[in-house]
């Protein structure tokens, strides 16, 4: 069953309450709600996501149409990921926080090797060990990069079983921020092994890189 709601002229929280009453009825397959403020749109989006329902919005003249659908569950999954990216989810166009990271030296590691030899396993091990030596040298020289950021296969360095894990912990204890891309950790099956405070996102990575005085990528 499809339902249409005209919620224009109502103030918060009335639109959310009336929509919730409708979608709580399992017989309702989809709802199209008309609202007249951006706040009501965003609150209906939150409501739909909390119920794991698909939601989409469109502008119609000077108001908005929010469509909530029970069927498209897999798309709702995408929205779930979306919800974790506040900048995107709220549609705030602000861009990066202004010169947020305060410059400094950023070590950006986007693969698990220092340079690369041939594709043979032996060469790969050698290149990987070189990266370990690179990090050890930074640590022993007392150099303190502002942050070490890991992305793509570079996130393997922070696997607690990796040879590089200890030196990264030492650098972290020495005051360097050590962060790994969450999407990449997920891809390499490492997300559960890394504490949450070391998991970051592309937005923060870009902020670090753009504000850096220098970026070193071994």
């Amino acid at each position: 069953m499809k339902k249409e709601l005209d919620l224009r002229g109502l103030t918060c929280p009335e639109p959310v309450l009336r929509t919730k009453k409708i979608i709580d009825d399992q017989a309702v397959s989809s709802v199209e709600a008309l609202v007249d403020s951006e706040v009501n749109v965003q609150n209906l989006e939150r409501l739909a996501r909390s119920q794991k329902l698909f939601v989409k919005k469109e502008s119609v003249g000077n108001h908005f149409k929010v469509s909530i659908d029970r069927q498209e569950a897999q798309v709702a999954d995408q929205n779930e990921t979306h919800a974790k990216m506040p900048h995107q989810a709220t549609g705030v166009a602000g861009g990066f926080a202004e010169a947020t990271r305060g410059g400094g030296t950023i070590v950006f590691i986007s693969k698990d090797t220092f340079g690369h030899g041939s594709d043979s396993e032996k060469d790969h091990d050698f290149s990987h060990n070189l990266l370990n030596v690179f990090l050890q040298t930074i640590q022993q020289s007392g150099l303190k990069p502002r942050a070490i950021l890991m992305a793509n296969s570079g996130v393997k360095l922070i696997d607690p079983n990796a040879s590089t894990y200890k030196v990264l912990c030492d650098l972290k204890d020495g005051g360097t921020t050590v962060l790994a891309c969450g999407l990449c950790l997920d891809y390499y099956g490492l997300k559960d092994k890394v504490p949450l405070e070391q998991v970051t996102n592309m937005f923060a990575i870009c902020e670090y890189l753009f504000a850096a005085d220098q970026v070193l990528s071994p």
């Binding site: 918060c12 951006e38 939150r46 506040p86 926080a97």
Partner: protein, 357 residues
Amino acid sequence: MTTKPEKDKPEETPRLTSNVKAAGCAAKISAHELKQILAGLPKIYDANLLTSITNFEDAAVYKLHDDQAVIQTVDFFPPVVDDPYLFGQVAATNALSDIYAMGGTPLLALAIFCFPTCDYPLSMAAEILRGGADQIVKAGAMVAGGHSIQGSEVLYGLAVTGLVHPGKMLTNGGAKSGDAIVLTKALGTGVSLLALKADLLDHEEQARLFSSLTTLNNRPLSVLNGIDIHACTDVTGFGLIGHIHEMTKASKLAASISINKLRFLPSCLELAKEGLVPAGSYANRKSFESNVSYINDLPLEVTDLIYDPQTSGGLLLAVRADQVDEVLKRLGDDKIEASHIGQFLEGIPGHIDVTIH
């Protein structure tokens, strides 16, 4: 389905909050709009005026003598709750807070009151004023007069005058790098008041909310006598992030906030997740998010709460890191729900890192 059923039954007294669009400090004009409005005002130069309007201070402070300054502040808003006496109490608690945030003691208050006498019984007006006056007395001050007008919407608040030693005045500025940030109340009054309006709070949640809204901010500074407090403000309409931003800007520092250290009123994360987010939260996000870096991925409802406009919120204190344990102990002993939520750091003035830990 009619949109405004209460209009069909004129014989019944409408709920006090029924016509209110934005409740409490959520009714504030947004920070970026306010900036535009204030831009054209004449510049003020007076050596005895100790606060600057550009620092968005909580109150104006004017030095009378070397050992005495007068603090003036005014705050009013539409009803946040249906119980008129409670609304009076909340408005007075909120108005007094600015005096405490400047490190001062309240002395006198004048009521500001707008009331549509055709829509509501006069007894309701009397209850609002009584709630406010009782709370002012509880704070050791008095309501010495006021001004009332007719209008289409109920509005109530107070102009409060207080005193402070100029050397002991606390402002947004003055925090030092490394200082701990301590917050003395749980967050979430914006979401909770919206949920209250929607009848979604159970009895216990309501009690927690009302207790938070009517808890005077006089205790934290009095139990912290002897502690070095470098800066102080109260969290109100601009939300946690907005007020920390004002502190960092005035103190020329950056700050970092740990989400795990924040306390929230019961159920407000769940309520925000379901879309009970006040318009003021979106306005605050728009005004302040360009100063914020989310270092870790955070659920949307958590970031909604750090922008949640607070009515009668807690104090934000900048204290020396080596004194923070003592501060938390003293506040805890006084049953104040304080937590150490982050620190001030060297960095771009006004910038805030938000992390999980």
